[in-house]
């Protein structure tokens, strides 16, 4: 277990938060482009200042707590998602020597934290004392339970191949070839589960505006709402980073770029993919979504494990 120097730790913390905030702009701009619009382009060069403007706006918004809400819980809920997501970055192996902690059980740690994040939504929905919020949080809970199951199973193939839960070792193990090839089914399942875990479109059922007016964050405004928002972008970034780590060789890449650059580049591609999904796909019905998880993805990942195991046994 190695610990990064304080400078590295602070650097990682700041850059993840900044990246998450900046993603707000990226998302709006990209969606604009994909929808043949211009997107935010007025504030600063290329509209980059939009993030700052949004931040300023959200800081000065009335931070309203509904009188019927359960106040302490209502306040804590958005912080949970921020904190858990930020803590998730602790195990991300950015590059050799760049990282916070190097746990042997890094992957498990990641799963643990991403399950904890759902408490944020459940508590927010409960504390809001609003039927839409409650519906949203019920959906969030059910969604996490269902999709986490095969998210874990999907990663097991990788673990079996690498023989370790240590994320750095998993990256090292991909020296001879990224796991996306042997573990393609696992990759697909993990990707779907990752989208569902950060409840991004098309799997944004817990907040489905058209059906339940924003779900768990219906009653939130101001900075608390902003925290949910940033939490969501942190989730995207974290999940993209883990995807890259597990299946795309992490920092590995031809030597003309430093390892960290490879890592960032690969992560960025996945972030953009997340945004593309939102721009292109429609939200499924809730029952369809659930049966897809249990009836398609779960068997798929189980089969993947069986096949990986069988192949691993037969090829010593």
């Amino acid at each position: 277990m190695t610990v990064g120097s304080p400078a590295v730790v602070i650097g990682i913390l700041l850059s993840t938060v900044i990246v998450a905030a900046w993603l707000i702009w990226v998302e709006r701009r990209m969606i604009g482009i994909w929808q043949d619009r211009l997107g935010p382009n007025r504030v600063g060069p290329l509209g980059l200042g939009q993030v700052v403007a949004d931040m300023v706006k959200i800081f000065f918004k009335e931070d309203w707590i509904p009188p019927f809400a359960d106040k302490p819980v209502f306040v804590i809920a958005p912080a949970i998602v921020m904190v858990t997501m930020l803590l998730g970055f602790v195990v991300v192996p950015f590059a050799p020597g760049v990282g916070v902690i190097d746990f042997n059980f890094g992957l498990l740690y990641f799963f643990a934290l991403s399950s904890l994040a759902v408490y944020s939504q459940v508590l927010a929905g409960y504390a809001s004392n609003n039927k839409y919020s409650l519906l949203g949080s019920l959906r969030a809970a059910a969604q996490s339970i269902s999709y986490e199951v095969f998210m874990g199973l999907a990663a097991m193939g990788v673990v079996m191949l690498a023989g370790s839960f240590n994320l750095r070792e998993i990256v090292e193990a991909q020296k001879d070839g990224w796991y996306v090839l042997p573990q393609f089914a696992g990759f697909l399942a993990f990707l779907v589960a990752a989208v569902a875990e950060c409840h991004r479109a098309p799997f944004d059922l817990p907040e489905a505006e058209q059906e339940i007016t924003g779900g768990f964050h219906t009653e939130y405004s101001g900075m608390k709402f902003g925290m949910f928002f940033v939490g969501e972008y942190l989730g995207i970034t974290l999940n993209s980073a883990i995807l890259v780590t597990l299946f795309f060789g992490g920092w590995l890449g031809p030597a003309f770029l430093p390892p960290l650059a490879w890592f960032i580049l690969k992560t960025l591609v996945f972030i953009l993919f997340f945004i593309l999904l939102r721009a292109a796909l429609a939200r499924p019905r809730y029952d369809q979504f659930m049966s897809f998880g249990w009836k398609v993805m779960l068997p798929l990942t189980l089969a993947n494990i069986v096949v990986t195991g069988a192949v691993g046994l037969s090829v010593p």
């Binding site: 604009g32 482009i33 994909w34 043949d36 211009l38 593309l276 292109a280 796909l281």
Partner: protein, 171 residues
């Protein structure tokens, strides 16, 4: 599944297509006469108010932002005593124009309806009524309707036979 992937691909291709929107207000889009903006009330070819206060526009309006009252002039024409549109509610859907049997109410390409005071968005008949016929130049409702008005007696509308002489015994 395939269709989802295809959708992703199609959307991705749009990365390289030109934006359909323009940099308003420096650039302005071309708006066609059928664009749905600020509403006007128009007049007959002969310069009379077209609106006959039939209330169909008010009934069809999904946000209920039209209120009017029928009255009648000495000529026998129906017209609105008042006609009010609350533009702070109007969603410029154009249903009123579709419902109007006289082409009186029409939407225009003027969409710049901004006010600092919502009250200024309440338009009365004098704000709505224009001098011309708008998009439909030739139409006059009373020329096809059976109701007699000054200058158009029974039997003088389009496709009308002269009034029956009820005392005649001829078949």
């Amino acid at each position: 599944m395939i269709s989802q992937l295809r959708t992703l691909w199609i959307v991705l291709k749009h990365t390289f297509s030109r934006a359909d929107t323009v940099q308003y207000p420096e650039q302005r889009p071309k708006l066609y006469p059928r664009y749905r903006g600020r509403i006007v009330l128009t007049r007959d070819p002969d310069g009379e108010e077209r609106c006959v206060a039939c209330n169909l526009c008010a009934a069809v309006c999904p946000v209920d932002c039209i209120a009017l009252q029928k009255t009648e002039d000495v000529d026998g024409r129906w017209y609105p005593e008042f006609f009010r549109i609350n533009f702070s509610r109007c969603i410029l859907c154009g249903l009123c124009e579709e419902a109007c049997p006289t082409y009186a109410i029409q939407l225009t390409p003027d969409f710049e309806l901004c006010e600092y005071d919502r009250r200024n968005l309440v338009y009365e008949k004098e704000h709505l009524l224009i001098q011309g016929t708008g998009k439909y130049p030739g139409y006059s409702f009373y020329r096809v309707a059976g109701k007699a008005i000054a200058g158009k007696d029974k039997g003088q509308a389009e496709n009308e036979a002269p009034p029956i002489d009820v005392h005649s015994l001829l078949p």
